[in-house]
């Protein structure tokens, strides 16, 4: 009987993402690049081997296949689920909503990982001496995806306020990321210290030691709210 072959970390990650395809390989590789110290991340040699094995045309096609519309919708749903988690009536409900919200964020995070893997592929090609003609299409697909994701992220500030409902989970995810990539991962980072935001906006908690950003939010929403909550116009 042949000895059992233990799957590598990358193989395990790819299997967890649904089995091998250009997309899942890029996500798994990108995850490992962005979370170098995470125990489940693959080693750099392994991720490079996987990227070299992919053709530039397949990588470009996968990048162009990212459904940014679904990504936008998943983020909005994640915001709603995080809001529900903040106001959940039991710890079981909270856990369910928090888990659903994190799932929603994983779509945006996967797109960031594909972008990171695609950029690494481009760097490897340039390092191997490939010229501008060979890398042009990959470069273009990376630019297109970056631009589309920028439009998805345009409502980041608005969604981030709702995401504060799962700040503990977001901070845990943020901590796994390479430090230099944390700020751009706004879906985990933005307002991740404003734990009381939703309770304060809902009037369930006093502003107390609220952050400057939360005070600004309160101030910006108070004038109009007074027309319904305090005024009798």
């Amino acid at each position: 009987m042949p000895p059992a072959v233990t799957p590598s970390r990358l193989e395990r990650r790819i299997a967890a993402l649904g089995g091998p395809s250009t997309k899942t390989i890029l996500v798994a590789v990108g995850d490992s690049i962005r979370r170098p110290r995470d125990a489940s991340s693959a080693r750099p040699e392994e991720t490079e081997r996987a990227l070299v094995a992919l053709s530039p045309a397949d990588v470009s096609a996968a990048l162009r296949g990212v459904d940014t519309g679904s990504c936008r919708a998943a983020l909005a749903r994640a915001g709603e689920d995080a809001f529900e988690a903040a106001f959940a009536e039991s710890s079981e409900d909270r856990a369910l909503y928090a888990s659903a919200a994190l799932d929603g964020l994983s779509a945006r995070d996967a797109a960031a990982s594909m972008l990171a893997a695609g950029r690494h592929k481009l760097a490897l090609m340039r390092g191997a001496g490939d010229g501008a003609t060979a890398t042009a299409d990959l470069e273009a697909s990376l630019t297109e995806l970056s631009t589309e994701l920028a439009t998805v992220d345009a409502h980041g500030a608005s969604i981030a306020r709702r995401l504060t409902g799962i700040n503990a989970e977001r901070r845990a995810e943020l901590g796994k990321l390479s430090e230099d990539l944390r700020e751009e991962a706004w879906w985990y980072a933005a307002r991740s210290e404003d734990d009381a935001l939703l309770a304060v906006l809902g009037g369930e908690a006093a502003p107390g030691d609220a952050s400057a950003a939360l005070r600004a939010d309160l101030s910006r929403s108070s004038a109009a709210l007074a027309h319904g909550a305090g005024g009798r116009d």
Binding site: G202, S221, S222
Partner: protein
């Protein structure tokens, strides 16, 4: 016509809020509306209603302070010392004018009459007392008008007019923004919108009444209002960004 037994206790001499059962023992305290009815009856009979009023005001102090605190938050002014003063002002208004005005109904925004509890009636007085106080305070803090010594000083007058017009435009815009946000709340979270509507737009400043109207618990009423406020602030911030 039945006569009162000669040895029956004087209602004014019993602990306020407690009716006297046959045999002289006191029973459960009267509810707010019954007690309020007795106060009105005593007043019309020129009897002392003071002890009953004291009991009622004591019962209503907590919700009244809550209403005042909300108005303070809306205007971003005032503190705890104001709360007691405003509560006393509202109580004085109730005694001076409100008792004669209470008809057991209130007029909603559409002009229709709705039945109102005595407590809701008092909390409306509290709300309007606090709003008037902070509006007046706000106007006192607004730029002072020029001294009357210079009747030809038209520039400051123009400045004031421009300022007034700008403030009015800001008010209009804030109002429109608010109603757009409320429409969104109604579309996306109708349960929260219904509770908010009763509590804030229809002057039902009382979670008991909101809970009764919607067939939910008082705790649920608090929760729905809180969720509604969080949603509304988020919508207002969405619109602002």
């Amino acid at each position: 016509m039945t006569r009162k037994p000669p040895n029956s206790p004087d209602p004014a001499a019993t602990p306020a809020g407690r009716p006297v059962a046959p045999g002289g023992s006191t029973t459960e305290p009267l509810d707010d509306d019954a007690l309020f009815g007795r106060i009105l009856a005593r007043r019309s009979a020129a009897q002392d209603a003071g002890p009953d009023l004291g009991v009622l005001l004591d019962r209503w102090r907590r919700p009244a302070i809550y209403v005042i605190r909300r108005i303070q938050q809306s205007y971003r002014r005032g503190g705890e010392p104001d709360q007691e003063e405003l509560f006393q002002d509202a109580a004085a208004k109730l005694i001076e004018r409100g008792l004669d005005q209470f008809r057991g109904t209130t007029i909603d925004d559409s002009g229709a009459a709705r039945s109102a509890s005595a407590r809701t009636f008092f909390l409306r007085i509290v709300k309007h007392t606090a709003i008037d106080h902070y509006r007046r305070h706000h106007e006192e803090l607004a730029p002072a008008s020029p001294d009357g010594d210079e009747p030809e000083a038209t520039l400051p007058e123009i400045g004031q007019a421009v300022d007034k017009s700008r403030r009015a435009a800001e008010q209009r815009e804030a109002s429109e923004t608010y109603w757009r946000a409320f429409e969104r709340l109604r579309a996306e979270h109708p349960n929260e919108a219904a509770a908010w509507d009763l509590y804030h737009h229809q002057d039902m400043d009382d979670h008991d009444a909101v809970a009764k109207a919607l067939g939910i618990t008082v705790v649920n009423s608090y929760k729905r209002i809180s969720r509604a406020q969080a949603h509304l602030r988020l919508y207002l911030l969405d619109a602002d960004s």
